[in-house]
């Protein structure tokens, strides 16, 4: 964004702060929408206050990376709820998440990035994944039918049209999501391939303003995908999907979230799980990519959905996005705890998402609450996999 564009956006905010609450009418309930504002309290943590900080950075008034500056800028999950609410009450479109990413870029250029985020660059440089892990994710599934029965399925079929891009978090922090996705593909008899040398997609770097560091990753992945010959890439991570859709060059390949892909399969299950679940909209999937229906229709096939008060465009963020989990874990976990309470209030026995970041943070918060709290945390693909039998049918 050009400086004039940024300042123009800032000058178009009238500071009504309606961006900080869920639509009040017609239910007339006061529900907060901005996690960082709610947690930290100072104006600096709400969108209008952050814009004033950006103005002063651009106008050269803020000339050092104070503790408050770094916190106000980086303790924001970039969830985009403020933007969605602003759109509802305004004819002027202020693209807030883009603006705040731009602010982070501005800080990174000045050398003011957080140590925690700089550390991610280092890890990626060394290991090509955001967690600095040196081992390889190994899918534990063995083929159970066809002429390769009994053989391990580490990389799928090299010439398959479908490529499953696993992503760093599902590889190294919540592998049960990758396991479930691969299991589903196998059960449905869908030929797939995995990337021979999958690198981090660069999302975390872009979201934390470290744009330059992401370029090499993107170039590598583009090259690998072109070489793979895949026609369709499936993601279980909405962050990766968003990055591929919005930041990568057009590779002439269809990019789909797992829920979009599976919704197209018209999966048929014999027995629904006897469980009440709430669906948590991941920010990248919902607000960023507009994917609200597919996860719900898929989930409705396998479980009973209970509705929470804050959903879809006005969903409460789980707290782990925008580099918050790595830098401000207490805040990230508080957001997740709030969400768990909301699910419980809705009468859910489990909170289901469609994003490895969400699952990791929500699960961690649930574990801290203790087993007595009794709320399970899953990704949709895990529940689908549980319901799907070998040789699973499609409707």
């Amino acid at each position: 964004m050009k400086r004039e564009e940024i300042l123009s956006a800032i000058y178009h905010c009238v500071k009504c702060k309606l961006c900080s609450i869920v639509s009040f009418h017609p239910n007339e309930e006061w529900l907060p929408l901005c996690p960082s504002g709610q947690f930290y309290g100072y104006q600096a943590f709400y969108a209008p206050g952050k814009m004033e900080i950006f103005r002063e950075i651009l106008e050269g008034e803020i000339s050092e990376p104070s503790e408050g500056l770094l916190k106000a800028v980086y303790a924001c999950t970039l969830c985009g709820a403020c933007y969605e609410k602003c759109k509802q009450v305004s004819s002027v479109e202020i693209r807030l998440p883009e603006l705040f990413e731009e602010m982070r870029h501005e800080l990174a250029v000045k050398g003011w990035a957080l140590d925690a985020h700089r550390g991610i660059v280092e890890k990626i440089r060394e290991t090509r994944n955001a967690y600095g892990e040196r081992y390889e994710y190994k899918y534990r599934y063995r083929y159970k039918r066809g002429d390769r029965e009994g053989a391990e399925s580490p990389g799928g079929d090299a010439d398959a049209d479908v490529l499953y891009y696993i992503g760093c978090t599902a590889r190294y922090r919540v592998p049960e999501i990758a396991d479930a996705m691969l299991s589903i593909l196998n059960k449905l008899g869908i030929r797939y391939q995995l990337m021979e040398d999958e690198w981090c997609c660069g999302s975390v770097l872009l979201r934390t303003g470290q744009v330059e560091a992401a370029k090499e990753l993107m170039e590598h992945n583009v090259e690998e995908i072109r070489r793979s010959g895949a026609k369709r890439i499936v993601f279980t991570c909405p962050g990766c999907l968003k990055t591929f859709r919005q930041n990568y060059p057009d590779m002439g390949v269809e990019l789909l979230h797992s829920t979009e892909f599976l919704a197209r399969m018209h999966i048929k299950v014999d027995d629904k799980l006897d469980i009440n679940v709430a669906y948590h909209d991941p920010c990248h999937l919902g607000r960023d990519l507009g994917i609200y229906e597919e996860p719900r229709s898929l989930l409705a096939e396998v479980a009973h959905i209970k509705q929470m008060k804050r959903e879809r465009e006005q969903a409460w963020c789980c707290g782990s996005g925008g580099g918050v989990k790595s830098a401000y874990d207490d805040f990230a976990l508080w957001c997740a705890t709030e969400r768990l309470a909301e699910a419980r209030e809705a009468g859910a026995e489990a909170l289901v998402s469609a994003c490895p970041f969400c699952k990791r943070n929500l699960r961690e918060a649930a574990e801290i609450e203790g087993k007595g709290a009794g709320l399970g945390v899953y990704d949709i693909v895990e529940l689908v996999n549980r319901c799907l039998k070998e040789g699973g049918a499609r409707r």
Partner: protein
């Protein structure tokens, strides 16, 4: 545009942190920057406070004020963060911004007394969420329901969405002064019953109110609540001029028939009241009177019948608008302004002059508005208007708003607006008004020139309650 701020000594910051807790007082430049500007920045330049302090109780407020008074540090009170007209932007370097957002308790809802007692951080949304359980509601301003109840009532700035609520919603309050003393107004001074405004001698609640943080800090306020009825009916009646509509407004007000009566132009507030930009409003008459009737069964039907008779003889055109528009008009009028705030974003910023005056001068106010705007180069399609009459209609009391919605990023437009103000304040005073919506720098100067010795008394009064001049200095005199 450089933003000033000034600094406070590390010793003062430490003392403030000792009062409110380390995490609730800061001189961090970025945190302070977030309080530097409001929507009125074409008139009040940005200025950072030197520190931001977030008390959680009246005891903490008292301690902060006493420290500031001793050190002669300016204090700018600030409630929920939706500020207009630069009232919470410091005038002086080295100011303390007193963010009262943490004081957000609803202290009492008394359905029997039809009152609510709140702290400054309570918003209209928070309050309605609770009062609706008793089929009661507060009187709403046309400000976002994220604004502070206490501050809006205390500043006497209720440009109401419901004419039936009358004008004064404040019953009594408690104010902490710079010297640490506490003033309690009305019956609150005598007992634990804060339900009567005129408890002791003069109307101190009136005397102290409408000061933009220039006397002390209001820490509790008791306000009136109003009934919610199940039976409702809405009408939209079109007129081609302000003048054509006044007969109907007069009749409805005189007979006390409607709860909400709002004359708006078809390009700005009507969109907000209907809650969407997506409608061919330009095909409607230029002005639309929005009328909401409600009441108990029996009374409601009788009132509705009379309202329809008045509408029929008014010469206005009854508009058939979508049902959803009616629902939103109800919600925005009786449940707090949310979608109607979309008008503030018509072009990205808004300017308005809010005043109280008689219905007899409504057409004249509009004429002046249009004339002055065109004279200074503001295009005609940027000129907007609305009028809310107020019960019991003595003096034909109306709140009138002369609006200009504009692109806030255009500095040349800012210059035009400043010129508009310079001319318009005088012209309106010459035409005759009852008073301004609320006093603020810019509008107060030409006004005090005209009020004779009252201005001196006012200034002396402020020196008594705030002898060191620490309370939001520069916002009035």
């Amino acid at each position: 545009m450089m933003t000033s701020r000034g600094v406070l000594s590390p010793g003062v910051i430490k003392e403030l942190q000792a009062i409110v807790g380390e995490e609730n007082a800061t001189d961090d430049v970025a945190i302070c920057a977030s309080y530097s500007r409001d929507q009125h920045w074409h008139f009040v330049p940005p200025r950072n406070p030197a520190c931001v302090v977030r008390p959680a109780s009246k005891e903490e407020v008292r301690a902060v004020l006493m420290l500031a008074n001793k050190e002669k540090i300016p204090v700018v009170p600030y409630s929920t963060g939706i500020n207009v007209r630069g009232l919470a932007i410091p005038v002086h370097d080295g100011s303390i911004l007193l963010d009262l957002g943490r004081m957000n308790r609803i202290l009492e809802i008394n359905p029997e007394m039809k009152t609510a007692t709140v702290e400054p951080g309570v918003t209209f949304g928070m309050l309605l969420e609770q009062t609706r359980k008793y089929k009661l509601r507060p009187a709403f301003p046309d400000a976002p329901l994220t604004v502070s109840v206490l501050v809006n009532y205390y500043l006497r700035g209720i440009y109401q969405t419901a004419a039936a609520d009358g004008h004064d919603h404040t019953i009594s309050y408690e104010m902490v002064l710079p010297n640490g003393e506490t003033l309690r107004t009305g019956s609150r001074a005598l007992s634990s019953m804060p339900y009567f405004r005129y408890g002791v001698g003069p109307d101190f609640a009136g005397l102290l109110s409408a000061h933009p943080g220039t006397c002390g800090v209001v820490t509790e306020l008791t306000a009136k609540l109003y009934r919610l009825y199940d039976h409702r009916q809405e009408y939209f009646i079109g007129f081609e001029s302000v003048k054509d509509s006044t007969r109907l407004i007069y009749n409805l007000m005189h007979d006390e028939l409607a709860t909400s009566i709002r004359l708006v132009d078809n390009q700005s507030w009507l969109r907000g009241i209907c809650g969407t930009f997506d409608y061919p409003y330009e095909e409607l008459p230029k002005f639309v009177l929005c009328v909401l009737v409600e009441g108990l069964p029996g009374l409601f039907e009788a009132k509705d019948k009379l309202v329809r008779a008045h509408i029929e003889e008014s010469g206005g055109r009854v508009l058939e608008l979508p049902e959803a528009f009616k629902r939103r008009f109800e919600e925005e009028s009786l449940g707090g302004a949310e979608l109607s705030c979309m008008v503030f974003h018509l072009r990205g910023n808004y300017h308005c002059i809010g005043l109280y005056g008689p219905l007899t001068l409504a057409a004249r106010y509009y004429e002046l508005h249009e004339h002055t705007a065109l004279e200074v180069g503001i295009p005609g399609d940027h000129v907007y208007f609305y009028l809310d009459p107020i019960y019991n209609f003595h003096g034909q009391l109306c709140y009138v708003e002369l609006d200009i919605f504009y692109d806030g990023s255009d500095p040349r437009f800012g210059e035009k607006l400043r010129e508009y103000n310079r001319r318009q304040f005088h012209r309106l005073l010459d035409a005759g008004i009852y008073g301004w919506f609320r006093p603020y720098a810019g509008i107060i100067e030409p006004t005090t020139e005209r009020i004779g010795y009252l201005a001196e008394v006012w200034k002396k009064f402020l020196r008594i309650v705030d002898p060191n001049g620490i309370m939001n200095p520069g916002k009035l005199f």
